[in-house]
């Protein structure tokens, strides 16, 4: 009985009696969730357009952040470094299209998937060679990102909010909304969906696969850069950041591989769920639950709703 009480009653009693802690946990969940959503978004963009699951997305996050910091450390002014990093991400998109996608067009998906493994190790190699492998500090001050925390006295306690987290959430929301509108309402967006459905038919109406691929890889690169800046600011910039990309997998399974809104909602569910679970239920089993919570949720979804919350329904005519 005592155990059942601890599992099913006590956490909710705590939420009720200490609402400040509840809100604090919720906020941290939202922030983490938005960042997961950003990474997942990078995957979704590329998957939608080319049917390729881009294993290199996590490394692109690190690579973008590393380029930014590396350029700054080499004496380039912060905003020029930001501009140059954007240019580098465009160059990367172009190079990937030329050197990886174009020669492999019409190959089975698994071949393209394996090619993104190659890309991953290529980016790690280049990143370490050019900028060195030691962890670096993100240049948040130089980019005029706010720092410090605001504390509110509310709900019978104190709620503390990092200004950087607020900035991250706002920028991520704007970016996500912009991409969602762009890809659902414009000619390019329609072309993108067309390419995802049928390469041959897209070619026949004059859609250029090359152009679309460069655009989506560049968009994914920009998303990676934003993600890299904010994740880098919370810890530091090193190749260890790569592991957070793995957290995007459960988000994708939840949201569906092809849905931009799915990436957001999936990210938030995982982010909030993870923090809540750790805070209220974690102590019962000794904590450390955020290492596995997301994957268990993903497993449940795979069993009952494999196309995810927003994934395209698989229409099968018999």
């Amino acid at each position: 009985m005592g155990l059942l009480y601890q599992i099913f009653i006590d956490p909710f009693v705590q939420m009720g009696t200490a609402p400040d802690l509840f809100v604090q946990t919720l906020w941290e969940g939202i922030v983490g969730g938005m960042l997961y959503a950003l990474i997942a978004l990078g995957f979704v963009l590329i998957f939608k357009a080319s049917g390729v699951f881009n294993f290199a997305q996590g490394i692109m996050v690190v690579f973008a952040a590393l380029t930014l910091v590396g350029l700054y450390n080499a004496g380039v002014p912060a905003f020029l470094a930001l501009g140059l990093t954007i240019a580098v991400m465009f160059g990367l998109a172009y190079a990937v299209e030329r050197a990886v996608l174009r020669p492999l067009v019409n190959q089975p998906d698994i071949i393209l998937f394996m090619a993104t493994f190659g890309l991953t190790y290529f980016l790690i190699g280049v990143g370490e060679f050019v900028f060195g492998g030691d962890p670096k500090v993100m240049i948040t001050d130089q980019l005029f990102l706010p720092k410090g925390a605001v504390t509110y006295k509310a709900l019978g306690g104190i709620i503390s909010v990092q200004k950087l987290d607020v900035a991250a959430t706002v920028i991520a929301s704007i970016m996500v909304a912009g991409l969602a509108v762009f890809f659902s309402k414009t000619r390019i967006g329609r072309a993108l969906r067309a390419v995802a459905d049928s390469h041959a038919a897209a070619l026949s109406v004059g859609i250029s696969l090359e152009q679309i691929w460069v655009i989506v890889w560049f968009a994914a690169g920009l998303v990676a850069l934003v993600t890299g800046i904010f994740w880098g600011a919370r810890s530091d910039v090193s190749f260890a950041l790569d592991v957070i990309a793995l957290k995007a997998l459960p988000v994708l399974i939840l949201g569906g591989l092809t849905s931009i809104p799915g990436a957001i909602v999936g990210g938030l569910i995982i982010g909030i769920g993870e923090k809540m679970w750790e805070f209220y239920w974690g102590p019962l089993i000794g904590g450390g639950t955020d290492a596995w919570f997301a994957y268990v949720i993903a497993l449940v979804f795979l069993l009952f709703k494999p196309q995810g919350l927003f994934g395209e329904k698989i229409i099968e005519r018999v």
Binding site: V181, T186, R187, A194, D197, S204, V205, G206, I315
Partner: protein, 266 residues
């Protein structure tokens, strides 16, 4: 129905000519030294038994396959091969033997996708959905609605095409090709797998597209009745080789054609 007459029935100048085109996959000669032309405003049929190289021929014309030999003249411009993008911008549209639609998109969006090349406003306006881009979207939408009316598919315009029955999918695919306002329309077995009524509908649309929009059409078809009724001129392929070329009536009585279809001891 068209009056059977000689090849001179073709109304205009040569729009597209293929000359001595050969294409092989490994050791298989899919197309072997084939030459023929398509004249402006005509309906040109390409027929032949299975594996004759008809679809390969279409794929060469719109740039999906690059022939190893020969040359293609399109609108007076000579080239050794087409590229899909060049073909599309040059005004060649096509449909596919096994319908290739954008399955997740609605019928309307599929047809709008056919307008891709006609839309030219930049990203910035498109994101804002304001100003010239909005104006443009409206104009293209009107054009798409005309085609929807033409093909009598008003009631399915909001349906994702993956859910439509086969006959209607073929119709939407024709609509997407027509939305490109092509000069040359390539139809790969537009009536395959249709019942008699659907075939009659589709024949009507093909004829109307030819009359009303003045579109030049090259079509592959197996139904001999349809071919005889629709086409001005017929080219016959067998095992990648051209065995006959002429008016439907001529071709029908050609001994080589009869042999190819019925099979003879060689």
């Amino acid at each position: 129905m068209r009056a059977p007459s000689g090849p001179d029935v073709a109304v205009g100048d040569v729009l597209l000519a293929v000359e001595n085109v050969s294409l092989s996959f490994g050791g298989v000669k899919a197309v072997n030294d084939v030459s023929f032309d398509i004249r402006k405003g005509e309906i040109r049929a390409i027929i032949g038994p299975n594996g004759a190289g008809k679809t390969s021929m279409l794929n060469i014309i719109n740039g999906f396959y690059q022939p190893q030999q020969g040359r293609i003249t399109f609108k007076g411009e000579v080239r050794s091969k087409m590229r899909p993008h060049e073909a599309a911008t040059g005004g060649i549209a096509r449909t596919f033997q096994n319908v290739a639609l954008f399955r997740g998109m609605t019928a309307l969006d599929n047809i709008m996708a056919g307008r891709t090349l006609k839309m030219r406003r930049n990203f910035f306006w498109q994101i804002l959905r304001y100003g010239p881009a909005m104006h443009e979207e409206v104009a293209h939408r009107r054009r798409a609605e005309e085609i929807i009316d033409f093909l009598k598919i008003q009631e399915i315009r909001r349906v994702p095409v993956g859910r439509l029955p086969y006959g209607l999918q073929k119709r939407v695919e024709l609509g997407r090709a027509l939305a490109m306002e092509p000069e040359l329309l390539l139809l790969d077995e537009p009536m395959a797998g249709m019942n008699l009524e659907e075939k009659e509908d589709m024949s009507r649309f093909v004829l109307d597209a030819n009359d009303y929009y003045g579109t030049t059409i090259a079509l592959i078809e197996h139904d001999m009745g349809v071919v005889m009724d629709l086409s001005d001129r017929v080219v016959v392929l067998d095992h990648g080789i051209k065995i006959a070329d002429g008016a439907p009536a001529e071709v029908k009585s050609n001994q080589a054609v009869i042999d190819a279809y019925l099979g003879v001891a060689h």
